[in-house]
Amino acid sequence: MSATASRPPADSAILRARRSEDVVVGDEIVRHRLATRAIHWTVALFFFLALFSGLPIWTPVFGWMAHLFGGLNVCRWLHPWAGLAFFVSMLVMFVHWLGEMRLEPNDREWLRPRKMIEYMRYQGEDPEVGKYNGGQKLFFFAAALGALGLLLSGVVVWFPLEFPRIVRELAILIHDVTFILFVVAVVFHIYLGTAAEPGTFHSMIRGTVRKPWARLHHPRWYREVLGGKTRRP
């Protein structure tokens, strides 16, 4: 702490922001501390590495992506390792976020498509939305499950000659269906996290959100943080 004591006061807030979540710093609230952000972007890095090296193997429509890595042979080597790294980082993220992603009774509504449509129309706002809404929690669990499906089927596709034919065929189909659903979900994840909801991307970059953002998107979390309750289990 002696190192931080000599810094200008402005920095102390940032340093604090990097260590703890759900605290008020000036006009902003710390939503994601540095560890959370680092884990999230590590998962994203390996996801895109695996995606861009896998797409050219999937279809010649994305064949040009192979040139990003130096050809299809490189992709064939890189893809499984990137996928493995993706799974491992996803596992770390799963453990890291599990406590905050516990499903509450209200979150079950998100299983109905009507709720998702309502959300996309900015309707039916729920004042009881905590730090993560039901959609985010569902995406979290779906992504973890998807990563597991991709790993298990991916191992078979990686070493096809070690498995019986029927297993190989099934693995290819599971790998395909899972990754297609995953990519569609990630497209919306990125859209909601950037253009659709301004301020969200900043929270994953610098860690903080502005108070109006918190009050709009996560009202209960906003009340809890400003009410002095800094950490939830």
Partner: protein, 299 residues
């Protein structure tokens, strides 16, 4: 093996064919008569020599078969089987190799552009420079022919001696056969020869003789006369080989749907943004200063 004088009719992982069809070549085929094969293995040796393969250690399995399976350095294997038949025993020799299907499952499954090609004359070939060694072709092949070569990291199989055929020569195995049970020519001629031989066999006590040219894969570039067509399993041949349903579904249904879904998601997100716009906190009244958290939920 790349044949430079032959036009490519079909190529793996290619959405748009490059064939012009300007030079119509007759489809070629091998003819194999299992009933006159004496199991001398001259074709195996000729294959090894011409293709610069091996030497591969043979593996004794207690029969007159050189090794249990095809190998990345052994593309032509005379399978041996002994069966009880009609109060006695019969020795069955069947030449196992790439069947050069008209509708090749390996080519359908292959993800590397140009790694598996089908030439105008029907020969199915692997191009090592394009092959990425993923092994999908082995999943696509109903005959379990392509083998992974650990040393080269590529798949390997019989090329039907395309380098000889494009120069007007017959494949090495055909050249070496001492009994004439192996023949080479146009598919039409070989099928005609096969049917004639089958009739001859039927007239000589082989009531179930057949010409194996399975229609499920569009016919093969290797037609085989079998004395006991009612027992394909004796020869290790599948009854109705087809490109596996999973591979077909994957390439023909799932993949196009997936491409549409991915682009659709992007278009959907853009469309949503144009129609609905961003979800932002109300700008009126300025930002809260931080001291007074609103205790009542917003409507």
């Amino acid at each position: 093996m790349a044949a430079h004088n032959l036009e490519i009719r079909r190529s793996s992982a290619s959405l748009w064919g490059g064939a012009t069809g300007m030079r119509q070549l007759p489809v070629v085929s091998k003819f194999i008569d299992t009933t006159t094969c004496i199991g001398c293995k001259a074709c195996e040796v000729a294959c090894q020599e011409w293709n610069d393969l091996g030497p591969v250690s043979t593996r004794q399995t207690g029969t007159y078969q050189t090794m249990p399976e095809l190998d990345p350095e052994f593309w032509n294997l005379i399978r041996f089987n002994e069966q009880e038949f009609d109060g006695g025993v019969v020795w069955l020799m069947r030449k196992d190799q790439c069947m050069h299907c008209e509708d090749p499952g390996c080519l359908a499954a292959c993800p590397a552009p140009g790694a598996i090609v089908q030439y105008e004359n029907g020969i199915v070939d692997v191009n090592p420079e394009a092959c990425i060694g993923c092994g999908f072709c082995a999943t696509g092949c109903p005959f379990d022919v392509p083998k992974f070569h650990a040393k080269t990291g590529k798949m390997a199989k019989c090329t039907l001696c395309v380098d000889r055929v494009e120069s007007g020569l017959e494949p090495a195995c055909i050249k070496a056969c001492p009994t004439g049970c192996l023949q080479f020519g146009t598919k039409d001629d070989m099928v005609a020869m096969g049917h004639a031989r089958v009739e001859q066999l039927k007239a000589n006590g082989f009531a179930n003789a057949v010409l194996y040219d399975p229609p499920g894969v569009g016919g093969t570039g290797v037609v085989t006369v079998l004395g006991h067509g009612d027992h394909l399993e004796w020869y290790g041949l599948p009854r109705d080989p087809r490109v596996p349903l999973g591979v077909r579904f994957w390439k023909s249904v799932l993949r196009p749907l997936g491409v549409v879904a991915i682009f659709g998601a992007v278009v959907g997100a853009i469309g949503h943004f144009m129609y609905q716009g961003p979800k932002e906190p109300p700008q009126t009244g300025g930002e809260p200063t931080g001291g007074e958290p609103p205790r009542t939920p917003r409507p």
